[in-house]
């Protein structure tokens, strides 16, 4: 197993800064992207693990270099601790999200200015010229859900997509990961049609690695395999058991 008590560099300048709880079946994966004198946090507002996340950020860089916090949707598992993170990041830090997510993220009591991707051509150019592309993935699972593609490394920060339920967690996906991934998507994504449409939009990009917010990181041939599994997965509301009398 990887040494995971420290930040793990999963691609050049891209770090996993999460926390592993052996008793949990559901893990959150925050990431940090360092680009010269600037840094970007992804989905790092996991309140119960905040101290671990901050410590790992400090192991890599001065948090004042963090100029953007990307929030792929508005859920508490990635947003609840954003007001705490704002205190240690650059005073000019911006919260990057879709407008529809931003409306709700503000209710966590955030103070920073928003950078709405849907009002900025779905891209963000860093000081170095490096471009992050944002791909809308509406209703997978929230209306304002997005994912991020880093052109330089080919890493897709995929938020809930490609995530998994797993008590048998490892940083990189193991031989049984596809089943764990199905287990997460079946009750969580709105419908087969919506999921398929969003995966087809994502797979047009030259993705080399998938870094989901839950579950494990996918690389090599597992990237294409995961695209195929999710495009063909039957899921969503019609399969949720609801008693007839309700």
């Amino acid at each position: 197993m990887e040494e995971i008590t420290k930040p793990v560099e999963i691609a050049p300048g891209v770090y996993w800064i999460g926390f592993y709880d052996p008793e949990a079946g559901f893990h959150c994966n925050p990431y940090l992207l360092v680009d010269k004198d600037e840094a970007v946090l992804f989905d790092a507002g996991t309140k119960p693990h905040l101290s671990h996340i901050v410590r790992k950020i400090l192991d890599v860089i001065n948090p004042q270099k963090i100029t953007y916090i990307v929030l792929h949707h508005q859920d508490p598992d990635l947003c609840a601790a954003v007001p705490d993170l704002e205190l240690i990041c650059n005073p000019q830090v911006k919260l990057v999200c879709a407008w529809r997510a931003g409306v709700l993220i503000a209710y966590y009591g955030t103070k920073s200015e928003f950078y709405y991707v849907d009002r900025n051509n779905y891209k963000l150019t860093l000081q170095s010229g490096r471009t992050l592309r944002f791909i809308p993935t509406p209703f997978c699972h929230a209306p304002g859900s997005i994912v991020t593609f880093d052109e330089q490394t080919g890493v897709l920060f995929s938020s809930d997509l490609f995530g998994a339920f797993s008590y048998d967690w490892s940083l990189y996906a193991g031989p049984y990961y596809m089943e764990a991934m199905k287990a997460f998507h079946e009750p969580y994504m709105a419908s087969h049609e919506i999921l398929k449409r969003n995966i087809e939009r994502i797979e047009k990009y030259p993705v080399r690695m998938i870094a989901p917010q839950h579950g494990s990181i996918l690389k090599d041939d597992k990237v294409q395999e995961a695209f195929e599994v999710l495009k063909n997965l039957e899921c969503g509301d019609v399969f949720i058991p609801i008693p007839e009398e309700v």
Partner: protein, 93 residues
């Protein structure tokens, strides 16, 4: 083996992903189920398939709670519907 073969195999494959190999091996301890963990194939079982599913469901709930159970439920419901089989209560609601 009876008509529930496909459902038991599906459940064990799914729990390999969620619970991992070691915990899934323990799930079938004491039950007359032979499962090849390398090929993820159900080789054989004896007894009432529906009753075995019920026992497995309760063991899964005990080991992994609602997350582990929910992770298999939709697939089981869908497959059972296609096969026109009734699921035990733990998976049916």
């Amino acid at each position: 083996m009876d008509a529930y073969r496909e459902l038991i195999e599906l459940l064990l494959k799914r729990e390999l992903g969620i619970l991992g190999r070691e915990r899934t091996e323990k799930l079938i301890e004491g039950l007359d189920i032979k499962f090849d963990f390398d090929t993820q194939t159900l080789i054989n079982y004896t007894g009432d398939g529906k009753a075995l599913l019920e026992v497995l469901g309760h063991r899964i709930q005990q080991v992994g709670g609602e997350i582990a159970l929910m992770g298999a439920k939709i697939s089981l419901i869908l497959r059972a519907w296609k096969l026109k089989l009734e699921l035990p209560p733990i998976f049916a609601s």
